[in-house]
């Protein structure tokens, strides 16, 4: 086929549009595996309690495991300041205008952490239940945090986020009655979307369920 400007030709191919992110995610994963480090990608809305849950888990695990945290946020160092009070290394990643972390940001963050002296990394994603689902980071398990204060339809309205989750924490159950939200209904929604995920009811304020999240994530007795 020709046109006035030259010859027209077609190329048939099968290229993953996000191949660069996938490639870097795989690279991050093998880098962590080679050091024997487990990485948990923690996802959930703004205010669901991701930071509080991570902090609660660290205070229980830090005597047995060497832990670091990568904190993703659009701006501020609020979360990494909260976490660093636990005495573990933290790296704040500010995405500026992006609504999610990506594998390249994690690759750069890993350069700032002493990987030879670690067993476990928590990666707190940007508070958002939509975009992070599209960008694997290289973690080997995902934890999704949903709180009852977000209302009764949080799970069914954001189904993709739960597809690859190993554990889903239904957080702030201490205020469930006041919110008029049934945590069991949220658990049932998760079970329908992802029957493989373990669901745990938690309250970081009262320490409820934190040990169970640790156990279901497979972080105990390592």
């Amino acid at each position: 086929m020709t046109s006035a400007e030259g010859e027209v030709f077609d190329v048939e191919l099968e290229v993953n549009i996000l191949r660069e992110n996938e490639r870097l995610a795989k690279e991050n994963k093998s880098r962590l595996e080679s050091k024997g480090i487990h990485a948990v990608d923690v996802m959930g809305s703004v205010g669901s309690g991701k930071t509080s849950l991570i902090k609660s888990m660290i205070s229980r695990l830090k005597k047995d495991l060497r832990i670091a945290v990568i904190e993703g946020d659009v701006t501020t160092t609020i979360d990494s300041d909260i976490i660093s009070s636990e005495g573990v290394p933290t790296v704040q990643v500010n995405t500026g205008k992006e609504c999610h972390l990506d594998a390249n940001l994690i690759r750069k963050a890993l350069d700032k952490i002493p990987l030879d002296k670690l067993d476990l990394i928590f990666i707190e994603n940007v508070g958002n239940l939509i975009c992070p689902a599209e960008f694997p980071l290289g973690s080997d398990r995902r934890l999704v945090v949903v709180s009852v204060t977000e209302g009764p339809y949080m799970v069914v309205k954001h189904p993709m986020m739960f597809r690859d989750a190993k554990v889903v924490a239904i957080n702030k159950i201490d205020v469930a009655a006041a919110m008029g939200v049934d945590p069991n209904k949220l658990s049932a929604d998760v079970a329908r979307l992802n029957p493989k995920a373990a669901t745990v009811h938690t309250s970081c304020r009262n320490g409820i369920g934190v040990d169970e999240v640790i156990e279901k994530l497979g972080l105990k007795n390592r």
Partner: protein
């Protein structure tokens, strides 16, 4: 709003292809996007239009074929087309438990995010370009 990031990756991949194929211009880009991906096609096209300006991609048609979700049960071989257009069902991801034997369903389609075909223009000085060029 992550569509801008996806469009950025798309443009990078296409410009690489243009270079590899020594094309002067891209006329059409065909994508296959699964209905279970969290991608807004309108936003993707809008972002592509902005990012392609001033490049060999400017003015090209971005055609997106949306592929349906499809699940299979590994235990009893039950198959199910996932009706993601039925908003009363579940917006993105329907039930993933087999209704016949309660085993977990495996996703077999609807997860794609691919460039499938690109129509390009070879400079008129070139005389040995096939109509179905190498990948």
């Amino acid at each position: 709003m992550h569509e801008f990031a996806i469009a950025t990756s798309l443009v990078e991949a296409l410009l690489e292809l243009v270079k590899k194929q020594s094309a002067s211009k891209v006329l059409e880009v065909h994508l296959s996007v699964g209905k279970l991906r969290v991608v807004s096609i309108d936003q993707l096209k809008f972002s592509y239009g902005i990012l392609s300006k001033g490049t060999a991609l400017e003015g090209s048609i971005l055609d997106v074929e949306e592929t349906p979700g499809f699940a299979r049960c590994n235990n009893c071989n039950y198959t199910q087309k996932l009706d993601t257009d039925d908003l009363s069902f579940h917006f993105g991801l329907p039930q993933m438990t087999c209704p016949k034997c309660t085993t977990n369903l495996i996703l077999e389609g609807g997860d794609e995010l691919l460039i499938t075909r690109v129509r390009m223009l070879a400079p008129s000085t070139s005389s040995t370009v096939s109509t179905n060029g190498p990948v």
